[in-house]
Symmetry: C2
């Protein structure tokens, strides 16, 4: 399943020795065609890891024949040597795949191999382990290797994340790691989606951007933006079917939404998944701005952790935005109880049941007809612990 | 000391029964003139508490004869009744002060009484306790009551905060409560400064705005903006001295900086005070934007708590800003060790000693000659605990 649910892809996940734990840390995904179309979306952080700078270049051609992903090191803030290491990784993968006979699409070159890395920033990758690991992974490539690949890209993830949508004759599938928005922090998000639909690169690009805009981009676990976030969509065309555009967009959207929800559900140290819906906004941008402000309010995140329906903190978060609203017309519901009406006390907060993991906050701006949903997590002592002890 | 260090002021702090604990919760500061000039700076949150809306109006006249401050309730998001309660508070204070013979400045009216409140949002104030408390406080007004007033405005503060600067013949003093930036969250910042210098309201205003811009405005404990933040500066003119403008500005600046530093030093649950200096920025705005982005990065705040000189998180925070810089020219020092040079690995991170409470981060943007200092705190399990259990 995962990246090998669609026809035309093989994958592998192995332990190359990059992680000190000795766990799986290297994945290879190869597109066996007949088509090698691809699109990518990357972190908007201006401090970008070497693999992001590399893969952005690769994706410009709209063609990706293989992807190498490693956990155990982000290869970010590693200077010119870091970029050379990514280049060497892509070259090694191309050579290894060509040597192993993966030449269905005319052979691999470094320029069509995307690279993604995740782990600690500011440490050089152990290339003496990574490069031999590529040979090992290529030797284990199978059309059923998607699960192992998904496991090999985990860092602090407690479970691996995969999703598949199948339509009449064609499939979109994928894997993800991380816990946060398209651009979280420690928990860099790496996603590889594959499809056997026969779709050209510009369509993949438009479809992927539309999907990430309302899924991964609206998952905001801790407000921190990574240097490494990468979302790739590869098409093999192996089904021989070119789906209708709307149908294809919808399938990509569904897989992205499913993976995004899984990321929030496994965020570091979180005990609650918070679905923030902003309604009746003047513009979609307003709705997103307000949703993000609520999502990032540490005091509110603590309150949710304490199962305290503290709507005052929602209002103070809304008040920091530039969105169109009048303070005395704001309404806020927590788990469907309208605890704030017209900017003041509403229904009895004792009615709010917050025992379950999913918490729904609805913010009604009473300023228009637009809306947006942002997903976030609560703030917990476990989050603090996990992130204060990470690199020690 | 505190607000009564300057001549011409009396103050009191008493327990009115607003706090369930029975502790001190009501303070009155009265200006006995001969001058009653005043200036104020308030939260920029668009959701403003009733006392902020009230006091903003009062300050428009440039005249304040008295200030009533309460802890135990923010009177925010309390609708029209909340505003009426603030109005009633000001009227009661004016009546009580007039009855008690505090008519040195021609008598008090509600329109010259500023009000400030702090505590939980969304609960009406117990006016049956607050109004009688005003009589009680007025009965206890003394020219030595500054300390008691400073104690009565505490909420989660572990210590009360005061500061005094005396020049030849004139004084600026003040009190503060809270733990955060000019606009924190739970820990609303209330500050009252007094001076016996003979200074007119427009000068007070300019001086106060200049001082808060680089002190309270650059203290960012947890990135959350309050509905209630209030900073007032009252001048009695009782010294009969009109200081030189630069000299006066400097005194106000020093008191503000001292109080701001005390706020950071007593932030909720914090174990570290983080001084973030951004240097070689193209503009001061760039320096502030970068400093704030670093100050609000939860992952970095956790790392500092864990005494981990995780400069990668500093870089990823800088990368989210629009400031002028090149990623490969960024330099970062933690406690004076340049752990990041040219956007990559610098001096050995093992050299960084982070045992002490104060941690200094220097971010060199290599893009100009401007700089700014932002103060923040680390993120701890105690912060989570204190803020998840607050209203329960």
């Amino acid at each position: 399943m995962s990246v090998t649910a669609a026809q035309g892809f093989s994958a592998a996940g192995i332990a190359a020795g990059i992680k000190e734990s000795g766990g799986p840390d290297l994945a290879v995904v190869v597109n066996q065609g007949p088509r090698c179309a691809a699109a990518g979306v990357f972190t908007s952080n201006r401090v970008k890891a070497a693999p992001v700078l590399w893969s952005e270049q690769v994706l410009k051609s709209g063609e990706v024949t293989a992807v190498v992903l490693n956990s155990g090191g982000a290869n970010a803030c590693t200077g010119p040597q870091g970029f050379q290491d990514t280049h060497a990784t892509a070259e090694k993968a191309a050579d290894s795949l060509n040597s192993a006979g993966y030449d269905e699409t005319g052979g691999h070159g470094a320029g069509t191999v995307a690279v993604a890395s995740t782990g600690l920033i500011g440490l050089p990758l152990p290339m003496d382990k990574l490069l031999p690991g590529i040979d090992k992974a290529v030797a284990q490539l199978t059309p059923h290797g998607g699960e192992k690949a998904a496991i090999a890209i985990k860092t602090t993830d407690t479970v691996h994340k995969t999703s598949v949508v199948t339509h009449g004759g064609w499939t979109v599938g994928g894997m993800a790691k991380g816990a946060g928005m398209l651009a979280p922090g420690l928990a860099t998000m790496l996603v590889v989606l594959t499809t056997d639909a026969d779709v050209e690169a510009p369509v993949l690009d438009a479809s992927l951007r539309a999907a990430t805009r309302t899924t991964f981009d609206r998952v905001d676990s801790d407000g921190c933006m990574s240097t490494n976030d990468t979302v790739l969509l590869l098409a093999s065309g192996a089904s021989g079917i070119t789906p209708g555009r709307a149908e294809f967009d919808q399938a990509v959207q569904r897989v992205c939404a499913d993976l995004a929800r899984q990321l929030i559900g496994d965020a570091e140290g979180a005990s609650k998944d918070i679905r923030i819906e902003v309604v009746n906004a003047a513009t979609e941008d307003d709705a997103v701005e307000v949703g993000r402000s609520i999502a990032r309010n540490n005091l509110l995140k603590c309150a949710i952790h304490g199962e305290d329906p503290n709507w005052g903190r929602v209002l103070s978060a809304i008040g920091t935005t530039k969105a169109a609203f009048e303070p005395d017309q704001l309404n806020v519901a927590i788990n469907d109880v309208w605890v704030c009406k017209n900017g003041s006390v509403g229904e009895d907060r004792e009615l709010v049941d917050m025992r379950y993991r999913e918490v729904r906050i609805t913010a009604d701006l009473a300023a228009g007809a637009e809306s947006a949903v942002i997903w976030a997590n609560d703030l917990t002592a476990e989050y603090v612990h996990e992130n204060s002890a990470y690199s020690s």
